[in-house]
């Protein structure tokens, strides 16, 4: 995760900033230039809701190298209220607690670090609403 790339993505990672197609309402996260539905190139900037529900999930038991300490951890596809879908970890939850359909709330957490001397990358995760 190079510095310029991470910095460029801060509005998405910290604030869930997305693009909404002015013509057909398609929600693009991350924002993009061309609407895949109606091909329009006019978008307005919106922020996705910080609440949603789990569409599907899995428990990662064999993690990528820089996530090794965290395994096992749940990762889910979450549909946010009002539109927009993201892939994110479910934080503070044990594998048994996660279900398809569970309601979640988005929080800011550390996603990964570049070793002991690189930058710390923050971003969105989800916690289960009771």
């Amino acid at each position: 995760m190079t510095v310029p790339k991470y910095w460029r993505e801060i509005p998405q990672r910290y604030r869930l900033e997305a693009g909404k197609c002015k013509k057909c309402g398609y929600i693009a996260f991350p924002p993009r230039q061309i609407c895949p539905e109606c091909k329009s190139q006019e978008f307005e900037t919106i922020r996705l809701s910080d609440k949603g529900k789990i569409i599907s999930y899995t428990i990662i038991r064999v993690p990528p190298k820089n996530f090794s300490f965290q395994a096992p951890y749940p990762v889910a596809i979450i549909e946010l209220d009002g539109g927009g879908r993201i892939t994110a970890q479910i934080a503070d939850a044990s594998p048994e607690e996660v279900e398809i359909g569970s309601r979640v709330r988005i929080v800011l957490r550390k996603i990964q670090e570049e070793g002991k001397d690189g930058i710390i990358c923050y971003g969105y995760k989800a916690v289960l609403e009771k």
Binding site: T58, F67, Q70, A76
Partner: protein, 382 residues
């Protein structure tokens, strides 16, 4: 457009080849294909390889492979569509011969994975880096997300999923080129280590070194080289969103059905006309969904199809007689071409212990990432 035929094929044994380098493995299957076809020259070359760069720090693979094949002046390009690189290379070769631009085209697929330090990282480049991989998802994880949603929607059982691996290992045990030639049981699958719930180690295709090549030429020239040429009668490709979460329905693989539709249309055939198929079982759940998208069974019934034995050797529509990616192995870029080699051998009647009787029309389906690319080719005895 001219009609195109496959006139020769070559394939290395798939497995962990510590003593062979990327160039060694490619040359081995290329020489085998050239000998099989009996051609004395090659006009052009396409090689499918997902990432020489990330695995062994080697790019510029077109020139690289042409050089080591002793053909260092011919046009040569490396084609990449993640795990669909091989199938995409075949499509490029097909187009070059069909267009009339070249006569003898070598299409190869190769991957050298065991030299890499971080295979998981390299494979993850097929997914959405910033918004999937960044968050800690892996490839088994992406397919596990598909599996969980599919199982909830259609009631697919864990046992039915395991049956795909059991069937493919049974087939693989009959294939001398397969990485794994041992049969397994449903218990083997269900007792293997959990990788990403619900997928276990035995639901996942392995890390493999290997290569496969075919030689293409216009049908009108084919009889010069072989008595049993195989026509490529259909080629279809489609793409879908790179991120799984962007798909409208994560229990479908739309790129597969679209690419198949396009190939069936070009070939002028229907799914019922297909005698056997080599499909992209990177994970067991993939084969279940692919059989539906190819039109072999209706949506949601892929588990019942494998359970009833309809996709086993001797069944209505044998799938992955080679052992599939699971048992044959999955050297990423080689897979798409290896599928074509299997169908070629089958349609020529050279498939030995795993021969499908009266095989006339075969289909290959090669897929990239979590379904963002799919390439389908249909072959027929000429």
């Amino acid at each position: 457009m001219r009609e195109v035929a496959i006139i020769g094929a070559g394939i290395t044994k798939f497995g962990e080849h510590w003593r062979k380098s990327l160039r060694d493995i490619f040359v081995e299957s290329a020489l085998m294909a050239i000998k099989d076809a009996g051609v004395d020259h090659i006009d052009s070359m396409y090689v499918g390889c997902m990432s020489g760069g990330l695995f062994v720090a080697q790019e510029h693979l077109g020139a690289f492979f042409a050089d080591y094949l002793g053909q260092s002046s011919i046009p040569a390009v490396r084609v990449e569509s993640a795990c669909a690189s091989g199938g995409s290379a075949l499509r490029m070769g097909f187009i070059e011969v069909a267009s009339g631009l070249s006569d003898i085209v070598l299409v190869g697929g190769v991957e050298k994975m065991t030299d890499a330090e971080d295979v998981t990282f390299a494979l993850a480049t097929a997914a959405e880096q910033e918004y999937e991989v960044f968050h800690g998802i892996t490839f088994p994880g992406l397919y596990a997300l598909i599996a969980n949603a599919y199982m909830k929607k259609y009631g697919l059982t864990r046992e039915q999923l395991a049956m795909v691996a059991v069937k493919n290992h049974k087939h693989g045990s009959l294939n001398p080129y397969a990485q794994f030639q041992s049969e397994i049981t449903i218990e083997t699958v269900l007792n293997s280590t959990l990788v990403a719930d619900p997928l276990r180690l035995m639901d996942c295709s392995p890390v493999t070194d290997g290569s496969a090549c075919v030689i293409l030429c216009p049908l009108e020239l084919a009889k010069k080289y072989t008595d049993t040429p195989v026509k490529i009668i259909g080629s279809g490709m489609a793409t879908d969103t790179i991120a799984l979460h962007s798909r409208k329905d994560i229990t479908s693989l739309r790129a597969v059905s679209l690419s198949a539709e396009r190939a069936y249309k070009m070939a002028g055939i229907k799914p019922e006309d297909v005698d056997l198929a080599e499909v992209h079982d990177c994970f067991t759940i993939a084969e279940i969904i692919i059989t539906e998208e190819l039109g072999f069974v209706e949506k949601g019934k892929g588990g019942i199809l494998v359970e009833k034995g309809e996709t086993s050797l001797g069944g209505r529509i044998p799938v992955n007689t080679s052992g599939g990616l699971k048992a044959k192995g999955h050297p990423v870029g080689a897979t798409g071409v290896a599928q074509a080699v299997e169908i070629f051998y089958q349609l020529q009647g050279r498939a030995d212990k795993r021969q499908v009787k009266n095989a006339r029309i075969g289909l290959t389906q090669n897929m990239g990432g979590s379904g963002a690319s799919s390439v389908v080719h249909i072959m027929e005895v000429a």
